[in-house]
Symmetry: C4
């Protein structure tokens, strides 16, 4: 397990720590609400604990209503009411509060009315930064995806009509009408294959085989378009996120713009919460870190050193042998830029001056550490 795991895992759990209780509480209410809503549709559970489930659902609804009110009034105070209520987040907020009471007032039976609480699941999309990314991929590739969809429709229609002709005599229920045959064609083209409608004649089998192979081809094109689009979008997004941070690291200021562009493509941003280990002594190191914001503490032998925003650490393991020589952890919530070993080497080859600067700093630190340790040892304390 390479040691860059620490920073990555810290990064993954960072949002929870940062937003703290409020976001955690929100996800908890969401999970409880969706579970209660699901349980409320099962007659046995409803008869066993209907009152509890109902109370639970009303509490969740109250929580979401309060949230909607707070956000809405904040938006109104900021003079952005209209744009808030017509934004995606605003609509999701309202969809989570209004439909259930309306349904209950209209006299819909509670088990059915509470089904509308399934709309709460949309709240997951409100906090997910990746959704904008997925949406962008679909929008940019819209024309290509539409072509695939047209291909899908053409095969669907022609295959249904042909299968209806072939199989309607033998299976009037399954293929007797075109809508029934189209259901078979969709189930087959998507390679779902329920098996509720299956051709039985030789000709039907031949056509079915052809439809399945078309389904795989269509699917392959669809996957190819999304894969290509997503890869481009990821690169673009990472570049934009990293660019602003790179400009804050003084070390990169001396580079020419084209080198900055190159290094921006190679850095990866991680958010590390406070008091989290980033590097563990004795582990094999495969990356170095630049501090874009925050502060870390390097636990050297006699005392520890603090490094602030704009400095870098972890370069020793990349220059000499790859074993980390000290523990490093954050003292506050920090934003680090990770430079991988492979990218480090490529960058060093293309920008020898950058290489020299890092090496010089590395050597200075190594001799510092050496000197400090010697002083310390002369002072008589042995390292644990």
């Amino acid at each position: 397990m390479p040691e860059s795991v620490f920073a990555d895992m810290a990064h993954l759990t960072a949002p929870l720590r940062r937003f703290g209780a409020s976001l955690l509480a929100r996800y908890f209410v969401l999970a409880v609400g969706l579970a209660a809503m699901t349980a409320f549709t099962v007659p046995e559970w409803r008869s066993a604990a209907g009152a509890w489930l109902s109370a639970c659902l009303w509490c969740c609804l109250a929580y979401f209503a309060a949230e909607t009110l707070i956000r809405g009034s904040a938006a109104l105070r900021a003079g952005a009411g209209a744009s808030h209520f017509f934004s995606l987040a605003g609509v999701i907020d309202i969809l989570g509060v209004v439909p259930v009471p309306i349904a209950l007032i209209c006299g819909v039976a509670p088990p059915t009315a509470w089904l509308l609480a399934a709309l709460w699941v949309l709240k997951l999309a409100q906090n997910s930064p990746g959704f904008a990314q997925l949406g962008r991929v679909f929008r940019l590739e819209a024309r290509a995806l539409a072509s695939v969809l047209v291909l899908f429709l053409i095969v669907l229609f022609l295959a249904s009509a042909a299968m209806h002709l072939i199989e309607r005599a033998g299976q009037p229920n399954a293929f007797g009408t075109l809508p029934a045959a189209m259901w078979w064609a969709v189930v087959t083209l998507t390679t779902t294959g329920y098996g509720d409608e299956v051709p039985l004649t030789q000709a039907g089998h031949l056509l079915g085989a052809f439809v399945m192979i078309c389904g795989i081809a269509t699917f392959g094109l669809w996957t190819g378009i999304l894969a290509t689009g997503f890869a481009a979008e990821s690169r673009r997004r990472n570049f934009l996120q990293t660019w602003d941070l790179v400009s804050k690291v003084p070390f990169f200021q001396t580079l020419d713009p084209s080198a900055i562009t190159e290094i921006t493509h190679r850095l990866r941003r991680v958010e590390v919460p406070q008091r989290t280990p980033v590097i563990r002594r004795g582990r094999v190191g495969d990356c170095m870190y630049f501090i874009a914001a925050g502060e870390v503490q390097v636990e050297l032998n006699p005392a520890s050193v603090r490094l602030g925003s704009g400095t870098f650490f972890g370069e020793l393991a990349l220059l000499g042998d790859s074993i980390r020589t000290a523990n490093v952890s954050t003292t506050q919530q920090s934003t680090l830029l990770v430079l991988d070993l492979a990218d480090f080497r490529t960058l060093m080859a293309h920008h020898p001056d950058l290489a020299r600067a890092i090496e010089a700093e590395g050597k200075r630190r190594m001799s510092d550490n050496q000197r400090r340790r010697e002083l310390h040892l002369q002072g008589g304390t042995s390292p644990s």
Copy 2:
């Protein structure tokens, strides 16, 4: 929701506006015709509204016949009759008109004859520009795809023969003949899995598991080939579409050919219909626009400014902070070239003179706006 959505959405709906009523009418007739054809195969609906459905189908047929005649006579007048009638579009036109009447004349029952109207769905391919692209991918990758198909056939044949041997004693109906076993093999290799024929013995299960894994491997290769081919084709197509437009923007004329090639790879073309907002004030901007054709109107404070073909806008948000400072909308149908923020930064790094030119223009505009606003404020009107 980033603001480039406006231009993109405008772009997506542009064909409808441009071709206007005629294309919309066509899609409407197509949808109605296919729906009526589908409904006509359902006995209940036919007995309930058979006359209406029939009338509807005849109307659609008449519309398509008229369309075919108009196009055909236009082609004949242009002296390109033969090449039109043997082109894909010509064949699709004729396939949509001729088969149904012939079938009815030959005495085929109407519900069966009208099934041939399923060929109308091919008309979707006539207006889809992406189809040529998909076709090109299949043609260029034909040899690789054929290899995968051969692999598929080999596994199919050998697995069917082996499964027939293993299972024919226990399930004479499902695996008693090789064609039946081949049906199982196709259903399994494509991972469709109807479940109408399933091996029951231990040996059959082992062979079945192997066939499924082969199916996934074959599928993966197929997807990989199409994904690779499609990505290359998309890049090529975008380059060609953008190239001609780039040469029309005077701003790029001063660049050396290799820079033009680079910028062409990074620009994305969008068609925006008239009177459509492109940039909204106060939104976060992530791209700038070059006008290849058409005109836009920038709503500055006292008065608005018009920018014509060959100019650019939206660069302020990329140079300074990223909030748009004015509304921009088209005054006529326009073709814009979008330069994304990430590509903008990379380009600026590689071509500092381009960067300087854009920056100078940006500063000039900012001071212009400033001056104008001051003059205006001295004149006593406050911005809303």
Copy 3:
């Protein structure tokens, strides 16, 4: 339909023309043999036409035996007997001839013995150049694919054991033993989903959902590895095939090695049989051609011009407007190198001297054509 279709389609059918009757006959015998073998397993067809099918099968066997003997003796004469008989092609030849007679001699019933003729399908792999490519991808990515397979095995074993525990009480037939549960797990992980064994309890549904999502993840990795490997292999193969041809075109000799490498990456090789149209007058051109071997005839107005190996054509449509000005067809079997419009533009930008040379030749030809046509018109004949 872009006009490069002509060369491409000619290219796809070229192998048939080149190997001519012999290869066509081989595929015909193969198709007939496999069809007869398949039909021979169906009792009705066997009783109806058993003698004919049997005769057909024996003829195919005789054909393949003759082929095997001819190839084998040729290899023996060339002193390469051992390496031939242990090569893939040699083994496939023998597998197509020996097993059926041995089975018949051993007293196996004919319908069963002839099942071994399914091995004939392997002959498809003998002539398929893409197979070596697929094999190479699997070999180079063997370690990554093995990791995915290990992941698959781990999920398979743990999910089977857990599902066996959960469902064995309720469904002793479907999940009562671990092998039965493993059959369910394979069917589910590959997303085949026959539905012959389905969990019925809530816990079983939860585990089943988890297994399906794992299946998609595994599948995605598998596809990703194959897609990446195949893309790299395709690029490599095209480069090698094109390289040797590029060195035969004098036009490229003057370029420096790095430009040759670049152009080699961009050219695409097509084989065109004799007397095949490559360019049609009036079509939109999107590529130019270099003749690596063979000869083409340009049908200019009064007379036609022949261009031999080492020359190029079709550049006019890329330099000026994109309409082809003449028909071009091959006079003999030719190997052409296609340079796409997008690549042409990029190359021209990077190598201005190459651009100048092509442009000069293009202009020379245009003025030649002009002069010739004028002379011709003065002579009084009007073009049709």
Copy 4:
């Protein structure tokens, strides 16, 4: 079959030879143990050979217990006990030994207790180097994959609720509760399609078709993300593995750092065990080899030449025609760096001095061979 197969296959079997008996024994015990565990769940087999199976299982458990003890005590002696027992390998070791005895002691019936031996399959992950790679891909793409999972959850919830509403009247068993409808939605979204729950109404069919198409889109995104991530990770890993070896080849020392970076990206590392053929005379060569460690023996005509670490061979086939002129095999376990023909040509174009050095060495060797053969022929022996 290209000749680089030799080195590749040798490479694939190398781990077995290197770790020798111990690793082979481990895999054998693992296979036997898992097979016995599987057989032990089948009542017939248990009643027929229960004692044997039980003995077999206890032996495997003893083997794994011994292995765990040996590793654990080695770790304790090295003072790394805690980090070993909390590492993945340590946990897997303990999971393979402890659970079964505990279950048996707690009075669980043996056939059920031995099911816990399914955890042994995790041992496959201990020796698989690719697992760290897969884990890294999942970690780096965690945010994108989470977005897809959220999309999946949203579609799942909304589709289940809608389908429950639509179908609960007609099929109270299959869609009567939300959990049941969710089971249908998972089975459909993953395109598994058991067919145990299938919508029967027209509205249900429409919704089902939409869910299937959503399933394919989600799947495509998931595949795209993993494919992109895996490709990047493979490149990175190959670069790191090759880098250290490149620095050991004196031939590359003279190159500038950017050339070394380029060549490192193009080389591929293979491990070849001792006395293994790498090149076979007469085969078509498509790569050359650099010896990073070890030694090879070139079987030239009269005598053979040994080449040690830091030298290269196989370059003649790339410079002149492509037929190998000598057999080459390893004399000891060696690490070779393979340079493919396509990459060789690209490198030669970019680094003419490298090309000249290799060519000079090639010519020297050719004339050496020539001279030696002449001397030998004058001495009267003819090559076989």
